[in-house]
Subunit: 250 residues, 2 copies
């Protein structure tokens, strides 16, 4: 008997941003694995075993899920946001590739979710309405030089940019460097959106111009969006609307 | 009395990828506006007026929605996918910025949805599991030279890439040029995913290596994802898994 692994995105936090597809998968699961705060979003019920684990043990967690599926369980691996964007789907496939051949025969499915940058963009207006890129600013798993190179090329390409994992307590300096690079490479009129804990009770959205940004405006619960050269602010009472027009004149 | 405009993402096609937030907004709407096939996804009911309109009239549609909201209606503007990604949110804000001052006082909200590239990525594995960019290949609203420049810089930055609107009947040559640029700028081992009509009964997912791609593999219902230099294929019986590892070695 062979089970399944379903890698499911819970969205950024609010229950009404969880797709019915993901809710149905959770209702059929025998086991849920994931980072502690994400597993805490799944309601306990008879027949379901929750396996919360700490941060930075993604490969162990992935192997555990695959082992349980191989033993016949229906395992849901939960991620916040979308599991394919800087989240658990890649970790599971890394484990599959390095693991025993029988893991390749398992039924493994990825269920998309609302990723943080799109929830954040929706709150601010439509800053990602034209071409954009998404960069994970954590240098745990890649060299800082590559991040800096991508930042400079993204600025040259005039992409709007979304940054995940901008700043942690253990490596606060990367985001400071990011802002320094952007202040050099981009104009002074770019709006920057700091969106923290979007769709949760702790949500905070802040819009500032690039020259006025400081590193401590972000933490690990923040997604940061930097406009392109064409991104506009619409002033009104309350927070301005930030959007990138669909057109770029010739 | 002032109404509201809610710009809502219906996801790529399947009903179980529509968020509960969007379903609730549709249940409260007095009017729904959008491109004909997207409005066709909304169930008629007493008290709801559907306003389907043709493609390429996004600004007229946006103004119509804003006028109705100003007259007190609760208007939902529907997009497929996410409304903030190459869709109606930017068009509505363009209309707001150019329109009468009273439109800025309206309650306008964007509700995110599952955008096509993330649904497509989930079907193939996790090709967008590391840094990536999203480019609209239509040159209706921007010069081809800018598209080509972005393609070359994205290749230099070694982003995975997702392409929207790759190819239409009226301008079939752009995607052919895109493939020519990529074949020049990227290695021969990049996997390319052609994901057509994801999550609908017409869904087709095809994975080929970059040198084997041809322009007619895409149409306007296709989203195309090109791996980065680190993207991997896991062979197995059936379709291979395509994923981009989380790490880049120093």
């Amino acid at each position: 008997m062979s089970g399944r692994v379903i890698i499911a995105g819970l969205g950024p936090g609010a229950d009404n941003l969880v797709t019915p597809e993901v809710s149905a998968a959770l209702a059929q699961a025998t086991d849920v694995v994931g980072y502690i705060p994400y597993v805490a979003r799944v309601s306990p019920r008879p027949g379901l075993t929750l396996h919360p684990s700490d941060n930075r043990v993604e490969l162990d967690r992935a192997r555990h899920a695959l082992e349980m599926a191989h033993a016949g369980r229906t395992v849901v691996v939960v991620s916040s946001g979308d599991p394919g964007v800087f989240a658990m789907a890649s970790a599971v496939f890394e484990a599959v590739e390095a693991g025993p051949p029988e893991w390749r025969a398992l039924d493994i499915r990825v269920l998309p979710g609302i990723t943080a940058m799109l929830a954040a963009a929706a709150r601010a207006g439509a800053p990602l309405g034209h071409d954009f890129c998404a960069i994970n600013l954590s240098d745990n798993l890649k060299p800082w030089a590559l991040i800096e190179r991508r930042l400079r090329l993204a600025a040259e390409a005039d992409f709007a940019m979304a940054f995940y994992n901008p700043r942690s307590k253990s490596r606060p300096e990367g985001f400071a460097r990011t802002l320094t690079v952007l202040k050099e490479a981009c104009g002074d009129t770019r709006p920057v959106i700091f969106a923290r804990a979007v769709s949760t009770p702790q949500e905070e959205i802040r819009v500032v111009l690039l020259p006025d940004t400081t590193p401590e405006m972000a933490d690990m619960r923040t997604v940061v969006i930097v406009g392109s050269s064409t991104t506009r602010l619409i002033a009104r009472s309350g927070a301005p609307i930030v959007y990138t027009p669909r057109s770029v004149p010739a």
